[in-house]
């Protein structure tokens, strides 16, 4: 059976074909211009609304660098950093316990997650802050014997509340990360004679860390914002400081905007740090991630020199 060749849809016979250097005209995208201009207009309208609204911008500028606010921001950073470190440590400890051969250790880690992931972080903050009602004295024979209210200051309560809560989330993240490292990695380590501890430290955890780094970045950013909850337990971080100022001068929105600016500065710096950290830890899989940019055009250098 013979088959006739498919008919061309528009007849362009061979002698009519253009030369190899025929210019190419790009397709126009009028829709993109239209939507772009619409969005810019909308943004301009919102911007104007705030510019002419009942906000005294000079007050915002004035308090942006006020000593109390800066000190508050310092506390915000300190609480966030301490709580994050605590959360990461707890996350790794309990995450590894979730993979233990010992069912009691596994259960303990599960219980931790169940309790601290299952209750609101604000509630946990209040409980830590009022823990002295349950345990009036902190007494560890030979080590500590003090009134609980002296030990659990607002700062300590904030770090414990935020850190322990974050740890419960990170436990699940670490557990998942460990579980998703290829089983062959562990077997290879065992055949080389590495003990379970060596295998965990040198083979499993470094690969887990790379897998969960994006989540840790989000944790850091989230922590910076959640630290504002500490304002409710009389911790003098930035939001608390702003509140104390506007209770006196009445510039509510102005001071809240000051806080927003500083939180944005903090989260932006963290986002950039996250991008570079991920790139550093992802260097063994650079081939697959080199095209991913934290922000297109932000970093133009290729992830690995000499990578194709």
């Amino acid at each position: 059976m013979t088959q006739s060749p498919p008919k061309p849809t528009s007849a362009l016979s061979l002698p009519d074909l253009p030369g190899p250097d025929t210019p190419i005209r790009r397709l126009r995208h009028p829709g993109r211009w239209l939507s772009g201009i619409t969005v810019i207009l909308l943004l301009a309208m919102i911007g104007r609304a705030f510019a002419v609204g009942q906000i005294q911008w000079p007050v915002v500028g004035e308090f942006l660098t006020a000593g109390v606010i800066i000190t508050g921001f310092g506390w915000t950073l300190l609480i966030s950093a301490c709580a994050l470190v605590l959360g990461v440590v707890l996350g790794f400890v309990f995450g590894i316990m979730r993979h233990s051969e010992n069912p009691i250790l596994r259960f303990a880690a599960w219980l931790y997650v169940w309790i601290f992931r299952g209750t609101p972080v604000l509630l946990q903050l209040l409980i830590w802050f009022n823990i002295a009602l349950v345990f009036p004295r902190l007494y560890i024979p030979g080590l500590v014997d003090e009134r609980m209210v002296d030990v659990v200051t607002p700062f300590v309560a904030a770090v414990l509340g935020l850190g322990v809560n974050e740890g419960s989330y990170l436990t699940e993240v670490v557990r998942g990360g460990i579980g998703s490292v290829d089983r062959g990695q562990k077997e290879a380590a065992h055949t080389l004679g590495m003990t379970p501890g060596q295998t965990m430290r040198r083979i499993i955890l470094p690969q887990t860390l790379r897998l969960i780094l994006p989540v840790l970045g989000n944790s850091a950013i989230g922590m910076l914002k959640f630290s504002s909850l500490a304002a409710t337990i009389a911790m003098g971080e930035m939001l608390n400081a702003a509140q104390r100022i506007y209770f006196i001068n009445g510039a509510v929105i102005e001071l809240l905007f000051v806080c927003a600016v500083w939180y944005l500065v903090g989260t932006t710096v963290l986002s950039i740090g996250q991008y570079y950290l991920e790139r550093y830890f992802g260097r063994d899989t650079a081939a697959t991630t080199s095209n991913r940019r934290w922000f297109k055009g932000w970093a133009r250098r290729p992830a690995v020199e000499g990578e194709v």
């Binding site: 055949t191 080389l192 690969q207 790379r210 063994d284 697959t288």
Partner: protein
Amino acid sequence: MNLAVKAVGIRKSFGSHEVLKGLDLEVAYGEVLCILGPSGSGKSTFLRCINHLETPNSGYVWVDGAIMGYALHRGALQELPIRQLRAQQSQLGMVFQHFNLFAHRTVLGNVIEGPMVVRGLSRAKTEARAMELLEQVGMAGKASSYPSQLSGGQKQRVAIARSLAMEPRVMLFDEPTSALDPELVGEVLEVMRNLARGGTTMIVVTHEIGFAREVADRVVVMIDGEIRETGAPGQVLSNPGDPRVRSFLSRVLA
């Protein structure tokens, strides 16, 4: 004949599925033994039992004067602490079908990991030796690459060097070329051929009949968790006695 490995009555079940039905095997120093058999016959499981990646339900493996994973104590096999088991396992090099290179370490990092961590040797000392091994498998030029930047054949040659770095008494290979593109099989077999020539004791699970015929001192055919045929490659491959072995070989040789 100096025995390197002696497996005695190895049985292994997964649930109610008995995969290994009482296997005995002896391998002498310097010998190259190839294990052939259809898919699912238990070859990998047997190899993994030999180095205790799987614990046999009964039976044991003797390697160079000690029983893997146990101490003989008053007529019973007393399980060893994990640290001692790992020390024994490091006497057996294992090369996996899927390489299992440490993804977060460079080629050199993979090779020095064992000697450094397990033997506690200094980095300088291990690096020199590791570079020799990488030279031997033709991978010295890629010492600072990461596994994800290598071809399958290159990964497997690095994996072989990594195992050799522990100076094992015996090398175990579980289908080292099965995951490779056909044109990459040759470079890995060439490395293995050189090892065999150098006198390395090797147990090789493989589907490469040509390699078995050429390099093996002895061939074992496993079917359904039993060793059905054992002998010199010429004899087993061209004139098997067992009818099931004959039908298996006629299928793979066809």
